[in-house]
């Protein structure tokens, strides 16, 4: 790295420019990653938090349109290999309290079932609010609210479940059924905890469609569209950064062609030259990525109150690592041409 370090210092302007580009791309990728994870959590945390490994849908593979009957549920509870089958009602509705009205998602469960936190406190007159629902409505335990026309008491405030960007209100299954029109469905889906159940056969018998819990996320309409487009943007940013880094080091290596020929003629091994060039790329990438990720984390933390930005090692370190790996791949492809430089060109007229 003898020459590489000195080149970094000598060609400050060029490397600073490139470093800035890496910082900005990393910042963008970092913000996008935090936002994707934050929005994703707002979308699905109520489902990913369910103590279930499979979800059985009825009629349609969609949390909005699925309905299951009590008969289907009972059939699942009797299926061998199913440790628990709990009906779950899902409806987006409106809650009001003290003049404030917000959209909430009512999750109806059987009182005492382990699907909801504090579910033994659920009654036909009491609900459990997630923290964000409580905050949006300005309620604490013991207060009352109106949910789809029913006056209910807040039994407790716990958890941060949210579904389709709406805070969750846990209700008893009966209360949930009353939020829906008369003769409405028994529940929306059945949450299953299985161990070696033959779900395909059980599905045929019960007339349901069962998928793994995490695969059911795509049945949340807003999630698949939103997550897909954010991931696509992130993918493009990664590809762009690899290309930009590759292009920069291609031009840089060509500019250095004469220097490389001299060093080779003087006896530098190709391995040393390659290692130095990659080391230089690594320094630039690591520096830019650390600054960019730091800025993204800082900005994300500052905006966390207004924007659903999720700041975890996963959302910060993973994109940073991917940036470095892809950037190094781009650099490796471009510094490869060092091997092709002929030391003979260093001799004046033998060009």
């Amino acid at each position: 790295m003898f020459v590489a370090w000195r080149d970094l210092r000598f060609a400050k302007g060029r490397f600073a420019l490139m470093g800035t580009v890496i910082v900005l791309i990393t910042l963008l990728v970092g913000l996008l990653s935090g936002l994707t994870a934050g929005l994703g959590r707002q979308n699905v945390s109520a489902v990913t938090g369910l103590p279930a490994d499979r979800i059985a849908f009825g009629g349609e593979l969609s949390y909005a349109n699925s309905t299951v009957t009590e008969g289907q549920w009972r059939r699942w509870t009797r299926t061998p290999g199913v440790e628990a089958a709990e009906p779950l009602g899902v409806t987006t509705t409106r809650a009001t309290a003290g003049g404030r009205g917000v959209g909430v998602c009512a999750f109806g469960v059987r009182p005492g079932s382990d699907l909801a936190p504090d579910s033994d406190r659920l009654t036909d007159h009491a609900v459990v609010l997630s923290h964000s629902a409580a905050a949006d409505l300005g309620l604490t335990a013991g207060d009352t609210l109106t949910l789809a026309g029913q006056r209910l008491t807040v039994a407790s405030v716990t958890g941060d479940a949210s579904f389709s960007h709406t805070p969750v209100v846990w209700t008893s299954l009966d209360t949930w059924q009353r939020t829906a029109p008369p003769d409405g469905p028994f529940a929306t889906v059945i949450a299953l905890r299985t161990s070696g159940a033959d779900t395909a056969t059980a599905d045929r018998a019960a007339g349901t469609m069962t998928v793994e819990r995490d695969d059911s996320l795509s049945a949340i309409g807003s999630y698949s569209a939103e997550n897909g487009s954010l991931q696509l943007m992130r993918g493009f940013l990664f590809a762009i950064s690899a290309l930009v880094v590759g292009a920069f080091f291609t031009v840089w290596t060509i500019q250095r062609g004469a220097d490389i020929a001299i060093l080779k003629a003087l006896g530098a091994t190709t391995a040393t030259l390659l290692r130095d060039a990659l080391g230089q790329a690594a320094v630039l990438l690591a520096g830019g990525t650390v600054i960019g990720s730091g800025l993204a984390a800082g900005l994300g933390a500052a905006l966390a109150d207004t924007v659903p930005f999720l700041l975890t090692p996963r959302t910060v370190l993973v994109p940073a690592a991917v940036m470095i790996v892809l950037g190094m791949a781009g650099a490796a492809l471009s510094v490869r041409r060092i091997t092709a430089v002929d030391p003979l060109t260093a001799l004046g007229s033998a060009r």
Partner: protein, 233 residues
């Protein structure tokens, strides 16, 4: 003999046929002697230097450097040979723009990428000694663009001596310099050759500064002809 070329023939592809750049050349230089190779443009001087520097393999004949036959050596072995036993002074004081004069010399201790702290510390001292020997003690911290053409050429000469080479190959060292400076560079090379015992080959098309060299060899169309040998050798 520190450098010996025996019956060396080198051809380049030239359309359908081949162009003979060196024609059965036999040439040897002992330690401590400076041989000037002089010839018109296109006569084969650079080709001779490239073959002696192991940068190009001859079609036939053998090149022996410091007693080692280079025929059939692989690229890695030739790179090692160049690093340890051959010093090259390029035509256009080919220095690296980002390094100071002292660093141009110190880089020679980093070419194999193996970090031996002792060798690198010694290189630091040796670089300053060599810059002193070529009269640049005060310019060690300057970068190439802060040096004159003659100073740059002297840095290149000092660099070529860093690894204590057996053979010193010099390509047109005076072509970019005016008369006085050209003469000073040839004098410096003669002195260093005698002091350090290198076998030096100086290639040039310009006979003006060759008064004090040990030996002059003419090249024409790839053939060598001995012109002058100093008796004192």
């Amino acid at each position: 003999m520190s450098l010996r070329l025996t019956d060396v023939t080198l051809t380049y592809p030239d359309g359908q046929s081949r162009l003979t750049a060196l024609d059965r050349v036999t040439f040897a230089v002992p330690a401590g002697a400076l041989a000037a190779v002089v010839g018109p443009s296109g006569s084969g001087k650079s080709s001779l230097l490239a073959v002696a520097a192991t940068l190009i393999a001859p079609d036939s004949g053998t090149v022996t450097v410091a007693g080692a036959d280079t025929t059939g050596l692989g690229r890695a072995a030739l790179t090692d040979l160049r690093r340890h036993t051959i010093g090259i002074v390029f035509q256009q004081s080919n220095l690296l723009p980002s390094l100071t004069a002292a660093e141009q010399l110190r880089v020679m201790a980093h070419l194999d990428g193996r970090g031996r702290a002792g060798a690198r510390t010694r290189a630091r001292t040796r670089a300053l000694d060599l810059l002193d020997a070529v009269g640049l003690a005060g310019q060690a911290h300057r970068r190439p663009h802060q040096l004159s053409g003659g100073q740059r050429q002297r840095v290149t000469i000092a660099r070529a001596l860093m690894n204590d080479p057996t053979v010193l190959l010099v390509d047109e060292p005076t072509s970019a310099l005016d008369n006085d400076r050209g003469a000073a560079v040839v004098d410096l090379l003669t002195r260093l050759t005698h002091e350090r015992g290198t076998a030096t080959v100086l290639v040039t098309h310009d006979r003006t500064h060759l008064g004090a060299v040990d030996r002059i060899v003419g090249v024409h169309d790839g053939r060598l002809r001995e012109e002058m040998v100093t008796e004192s050798q």
